[in-house]
Amino acid sequence: MLRKSSVSIAKDRIKALIISDRVHCTPDAYENICRELYSSLSKYMELTEDDFRVDINRTQVIITFAGEEA
């Protein structure tokens, strides 16, 4: 089947909605948050875009990057 499964569309939509509900911002704010965090942090540490991830849950903003193991 060529069409994108409706579940993957639903998952993308719900994830964006939940983040904007949790931090009271617009859905595209999440993209901006990620970009700005990436650019600030990359001034101080070596980052690659592929490994950089920002998760926002109800009480935390979690930044994940694949650095050297301590």
């Binding site: 409706s6 579940v7 993957s8 639903a10 998952k11 719900i14 509900d21 949790r22 849950n57």
Partner: protein
């Protein structure tokens, strides 16, 4: 000392009332003394789902206003020993009671019952605040749909800010045929998004509609949803019950019978 559990969802129509009725009946089958309370003022429904609508004399607001004693308002379900319903008022609006009054009522009921289940109204206004006021534990009902999951997430956030720590998830109306086609989110998808422990997953079962038509909890009928509800009840009491495999309609047997139908 009983446990007070609120059944909530945010969004309407996902199965709170049906779940409350079935968990109430199921827990009483496990020899627990159970009170179910309809906290949806103005939109009374739990009595109808349970088939007890003709037995109502007094209601929740009468108890809170002191028009009657608590014992007078509790309706005993004759089919299930130890199951009692406190119906809601159909005429009063949602400002007729306060969270403090609900807290007092539930603490009174704790003395007498093992479990007190509160059927919460949809929404996040005062009715919701009343329902969660005295609760120790929350069961959040959702369906695998974007709107229902979104509302469930809001509710979980509100429960957290109200210091309600014990929260568990029921995913209702799962259609395995659609899940297999990639057109419905899986139990794992929904659980991961909401990140609270799963206490039950229910198949979309016609028997639930039939049960509601008859005012009979599906837990008393031989059905997949009935079994799933019973498993949830056991988990509520602390038993470790494995999650059952939800079978799709296009399972092995129906495929086999389909094979024979072809010429």
């Amino acid at each position: 000392m009983g446990e007070v559990i609120v059944i909530t969802s945010g969004k309407g129509g996902v199965g709170k009332t049906t779940t409350t009725a079935n968990l109430g009946a199921g827990l009483s089958k496990l020899d627990k003394k159970v009170a179910v309370i309809d906290t949806d003022l103005g939109l009374r429904n739990l009595d109808v789902v349970m088939g007890l609508e003709n037995l109502i004399v007094y209601n929740l607001v009468d108890v809170i206003e002191g028009t009657c004693r608590l014992k007078q308002a509790l309706i005993r379900d004759k089919r299930y020993e130890n199951l009692y319903l406190l119906p809601s008022a159909q005429t009063k609006d949602k400002t007729a009671i306060s969270p403090g009054q609900m807290k007092k009522l539930t603490s009174e009921l704790r003395e007498e019952f093992d479990y007190i289940l509160l059927d919460c109204p949809a929404g996040i206004e005062q009715g919701f605040m009343n329902a969660i006021a005295g609760a120790d534990r929350a069961i959040i009902v959702t369906t695998p749909e974007v709107s229902a999951i979104r509302d469930a997430d809001r509710i979980i956030g509100l429960l957290e800010s109200n210091q309600l720590k014990k929260k568990e998830l029921i995913i209702n109306r799962i259609r395995m045929d659609m899940v297999k086609r990639g057109d419905m989110m899986t139990v794992d998808d929904v659980t991961e998004i909401l990140s609270i422990p799963l206490i039950g997953a229910l198949p979309d079962d016609e028997q639930v509609v039939i049960g509601t038509n008859q005012g009979e909890p599906v837990i008393g009928l031989d059905s997949k949803a009935g079994t799933a509800y019973m498993n949830i009840c056991k988990r509520i009491t602390g038993l470790d019950v494995p999650f059952m495999e939800l079978q799709s309609n296009s399972g092995f047997l129906s495929k086999l019978s389909g094979l024979f139908k072809k010429d």
